[in-house]
Symmetry: C2
DNA sequence: TCTTGACCTTACCATGATGGGAAGGTCTAT
DNA sequence: ATAGACCTTCCCATCATGGTAAGGTCAAGA
C-alpha cells in the first residue's frame, strides 16, 4: 500500500503521515526499490489510532504516550484513565474560558443598538470607557 | 514613556508591542535620540483596546478591524455588532466541539476500571476495537 | 568618573500541527 | 511513447507568542 492509500484508509493526510514519521511518532515503514513508502494493515491501524486520539483533542505528545500504552500489553488501565481524565479537565478549562468570552460578548451585543448610529457599547468596552464595564455595572 | 512602561500599563508585553507595530496593527511611535520608542497615554489606550479584544478571543485580524471602527467616528454600531455576533457564533462552535470531546471521553473514562489490569476501553476505542464504540452501543 | 544593573535596540530561532508548492522521479494505462 | 497520477525531498507559511544573543543607553551609587 502506498502512502496515498494509507492516507485514504486512515483519514490522516499523506503530508501528516510523513510528519509523524519525521517526529518519531510512528516508525519509518519499509520502502520499495523506488523508495516509495509501503504500508500494511498494521500501520493503518496505528494511523487510525492516532487520528482518533487527535480528533478527541489529545496533542501529538499525549497521543504518543497513549500509543506507547496501547502497545504495552502490561500497562495498567489506570494510567490511561489518568491521562484521559486530565485531558478532560484541560478541555473543561478551555470551555469555561470560551464561555466567559461568550458571556461578556453576548452582554455587549445585547446592549448595542446595532443601527446606523455610531454609539457602540462594544467598542466602549474594548476601549475601557467606564460607562459599560462588562460584568459589574448594568 | 518607554516600551517597558507602556507594556506594564497596557498588559501587552514589549515583545508583542513591537510585533503589533511590525505587522502594522499599530503605527510606529516616535523615537528618542537614542532610538528608544516613546509612548504616550493615547498609545497605551490603543494597546489596552487591543489587549481587551485579544482577551475576548478576537484574532489580531479582527482586532485590527475593530480598531479601525473604533477610530472611525462615523461608523455604524451595526457593523461592530455583526463582528461581535459572528465571533460569538465561532466561539460557540468551538465550545460545542470541545464539549463533544468531553462527552466521549467522559463516557470512556466512566467505562474504564482504572486499576492494575491492562483492559482499557479507552485504548480500545482509540484503536477502533468494536467492543466500545463511543456513542452507539451501551 | 567609573561601574553596575536595568533597560532598550535589532535579528534570528522555536513553538504545534498543518497546508502549499516546487523540482524531480516512478508507475500505469492508453 | 506519452500523459497523468502518483511518489520523493526540501523549503516556506501559518498564528501569536516567547526566548536568546549581541550590542547600545541610561540612571544611580561608590
Amino acid at each position: 500500500m502506498n502512502i496515498g492509500q494509507a492516507a485514504d484508509q486512515s483519514g490522516v493526510s499523506a503530508k501528516m503521515i510523513r510528519y509523524y514519521e519525521q517526529i518519531g511518532l510512528i516508525s519509518p515503514p519499509s520502502r520499495t526499490d523506488s523508495n516509495y513508502r509501503v504500508y500494511g494493515p498494521d500501520e493503518v491501524h496505528v494511523l487510525r489510532f492516532i487520528k482518533r486520539a487527535r480528533t478527541l483533542g489529545f496533542s501529538v505528545e499525549e497521543t504518543s504516550v497513549l500509543l506507547g500504552l496501547w502497545q504495552d500489553r502490561t500497562r495498567a488501565s489506570a494510567e490511561v484513565r489518568d491521562i484521559a481524565s486530565s485531558h478532560i479537565v484541560a478541555l473543561e478549562t478551555k470551555i469555561a474560558e470560551l464561555q466567559g468570552m461568550v458571556k461578556t460578548l453576548s452582554h455587549l451585543v445585547h446592549c448595542c443598538a446595532g443601527d446606523n448610529r455610531p454609539d457602540c457599547p462594544i467598542l466602549d468596552d474594548l476601549a475601557g470607557t467606564p460607562a459599560e464595564q462588562t460584568s459589574k455595572g448594568h
